[in-house]
């Protein structure tokens, strides 16, 4: 076991984490925004909103992310006439993909608030907007938080897929070093350790949050 391969290339590999985090963050923000719009449409009684949103969600949840990335890679030159760069391709496909998952989390959160709450609010004369804003949303958000953080951890892991379009995030860099040095065991154990540490920290945070929530309920 030769650990020096890790220390020598450490800076190069960890540098990829910056890109990883950047990608993850942009995906979370973009995915949430679109997810909110989608879940509003999904909860709407109007068919022209409901059906497209439902179709979108089922479509993207039925495909592997890697395929979505390729789709974008092939589709965008056709539409824009130019090939698309690796980073934009990654960001756009991630956002579009994860939005479907965020939409379901949000929808579940909103539906987890008991119907009686809405009835109580309406019965005192509050309008739909007021009921949603003061009674339903605060509770829905509170209920959603563990699932949202969980999705954030998943997104963080999914960034490793940007590997396939050559994006030099963390995993690709590890892979490059391996191609040069052929010390796979040390390198992939190292990669595993890094991801494990970061994701465990995230999962621990969820666990704590859930414990706190359970106590206050």
């Amino acid at each position: 076991m030769d650990l020096s391969v890790i220390s020598i290339n450490f800076k190069f590999m960890i540098g990829g984490l910056a890109l990883t985090f950047e990608l993850a963050l942009m995906t979370m923000v973009g995915g949430l925004l679109i997810g909110v719009i989608l879940s509003i449409a999904r909860l709407s009684p109007r068919p022209w909103l409901y059906y497209p949103a439902t179709a979108y969600i089922h479509f993207f949840r039925g495909l592997p992310l890697i395929l979505v990335i390729f789709w974008l890679y092939f589709l965008s030159p056709v539409i824009t006439g130019r090939p698309i760069g690796a980073f934009p391709a990654a960001v756009i496909s991630f956002i579009v993909f994860e939005a479907a998952y965020f939409a379901e989390i949000i929808r579940a959160g909103v539906q987890s608030v008991s119907h009686g709450q809405a009835m109580a609010a309406y019965s005192s004369g509050l309008t739909f907007y007021q009921t949603t804003r003061y009674v339903i949303l605060p509770q829905a958000l509170h209920n959603m938080v563990p699932a949202l953080v969980n999705q954030a951890v998943i997104i963080f892991q999914d960034t490793s897929l940007a590997y396939v379009i050559g994006l030099r995030e963390f995993l690709r860099r590890v892979n490059l070093v391996d191609a040069r040095e052929a010390r796979s065991v040390e390198l992939y154990l190292f990669a595993g350790l890094v991801y494990f540490t970061i994701c465990s920290a995230g999962s621990l945070a969820i666990h704590r949050l859930e414990k706190r929530r359970a106590r206050s309920c």
């Binding site: 479509f59 039925g62 495909l63 592997p64 992310l65 890697i66 395929l67 390729f70 789709w71 890679y73 092939f74 589709l75 030159p77 056709v78 539409i79 824009t80 006439g81 130019r82 951890v153 892991q157 999914d158 490793s160 897929l161 590997y163 396939v164 995993l171 892979n175 391996d178 796979s184 065991v185 390198l187 992939y188 154990l189 990669a191 595993g192 991801y195 494990f196 994701c199 465990s200 999962s203």
Partner: protein, 242 residues
């Protein structure tokens, strides 16, 4: 606009040799996923059981497995099995491997997908088991049933029904994750789509076809599962959200 510069050529989907490649890719996806799924269920249920047994060490082992496999991206695990794992074998075994198993990438794919999915199956199994209230056990014991009988006649049939929806989701996830094995060279459907593009420059058609394959299979699985659910349905059980 760019659209007019692109001429669609759908014949690439059935033209020789591409049609054959696509079909072969579909089959690869199917049997790779199924093999991995079998490993996942056997291993996952075992670990799920470990996590609820009354022995601390066993529970910890189960927990550790789940934590490890869930917090590392599947792609990393895949690379580990493909690049790193053979290096743990003694030299002669490695030689044998490289000489006699030409499609090692396929088997690395099966093993990593299986072990990864097993951790998810274990979690689902455990939470389904936990959702059965303690009172069910108490009711059974109070009529004189032994532990084994309780599990066999009371708990297992019920747990089996609760488990179907999350297991369906996990199978579909496993199925989707099989696409990632393309990174180590497995010629499953997604890789095939990409590969054909490198010869024909008609990647859009092939990825559309690949997407349709995934969606169709997802639809079939969901339909099949709801058929099963209907047949073993007990009135009053919670209907699945879809």
């Amino acid at each position: 606009m760019g659209l007019f510069n692109y001429t669609f050529d759908w014949s690439v989907l059935w033209r020789h040799p591409y049609g054959g490649l696509l079909v072969s890719g579909i089959f690869t996806t199917l049997h790779l996923s199924l093999l991995a799924w079998i490993i996942a269920v056997v291993l996952g249920v075992t670990i799920g059981i470990f996590r609820v047994l009354p022995f601390r060490l066993v529970r910890f082992a189960g927990s550790a497995y789940v934590q490890l496999f869930r917090n590392i991206p599947f792609l990393v695990q895949l690379f580990f099995w493909y690049f790193a794992a053979p290096l743990f074998l003694p030299k002669p075994a490695q030689e044998w491997l490289y000489d006699n198993v030409p499609n090692y990438s396929y088997w690395a794919g099966v093993i990593s997908l299986g072990t990864y999915t097993a951790s998810r199956v274990a979690e689902q199994f455990r939470s389904s088991l936990l959702s059965i209230s303690q009172d069910q056990y108490r009711a059974a014991y109070s009529t004189g049933l032994t532990t084994l009988q309780t599990y066999r006649y009371v708990i297992a049939p019920y747990a089996f029904r609760i488990i179907i929806p999350p297991f369906t989701t996990e199978f579909l996830t496993c199925f989707k994750n099989s696409a990632l094995t393309m990174t180590i060279g497995v010629m499953e459907i997604t890789h095939t789509a990409y590969y054909i593009d490198s010869f024909t420059w008609h990647g859009l058609e092939t990825t559309t076809a690949a997407s349709l394959v995934y969606l169709c299979i997802a639809l079939c699985v969901v339909l099949f599962m709801s058929l099963i659910e209907k047949r073993i349905h007990i009135p009053g059980m919670i209907a699945r959200e879809q």
